[in-house]
Subunit: 103 residues, 2 copies
Amino acid sequence: MPVDAFAVLAEPARRRILDELRDADRSVGELVAALTISQPTVSKHLKVLRDAGFVSSRTAAQQRIYHVEPAQFAALDEWLAPYRLLWTKHLDKLARHLDTMER
Amino acid sequence: MPVDAFAVLAEPARRRILDELRDADRSVGELVAALTISQPTVSKHLKVLRDAGFVSSRTAAQQRIYHVEPAQFAALDEWLAPYRLLWTKHLDKLARHLDTMER
DNA sequence: TGGTTGTATGCCTTGACAAGAATATGCCTA
DNA sequence: TAGGCATATTCTTGTCAAGGCATACAACCA
């Protein structure tokens, strides 16, 4: 069953994890230290993120190093795209309005 | 209390409502007809969307006409932006790779 | 091999939230 | 003003997921 990307990102803790991984790959322990969340909780969130394809992990001795899979964000962007159109259109209108005002 | 945009959009029904409103403004009744959701449920979702600033409504006689507020999507896009960077970088790398292969 | 570190998993409780049914509210028309 | 239509709200119930705790598993080290 396909996982709902929005539902996955709805959890603030998961977004914090992603934000952390955006800078650099991290082991689970590093994530636990950086955020202030228990290790089991972090591991569970990582599982959700992994299942949804937002991150992947490699094994380095006893540690698992996680890193972001940027491709997965495309789905999100795809949904957002038509709205971005609307809203840049809106910005254009605003710009024209301001332009009109200053004449 | 600020509403979490991701949490709001996590509900598929709410995204369907937004997709419907993207084409044109709609009354609650039209939304109920278009989607196949009970009227109270639609009203409740609309309330959530309104509180989060994703839509606004005007009163037309007994009807309430809803329309999308595109500006609200900016927050979403803002969060997504750094990841988009990562992933276009990734696409670049892929392109270079393909380029290399065809030589 | 036994102990230790790093990570994952299972169970349980609790809280959040969605949907249904019933009802309330607002605005119109006769 | 009564009645009817469009929408909102309340209450209740069921579902699901998050987090705590304990524990299992895996890889390293002495």
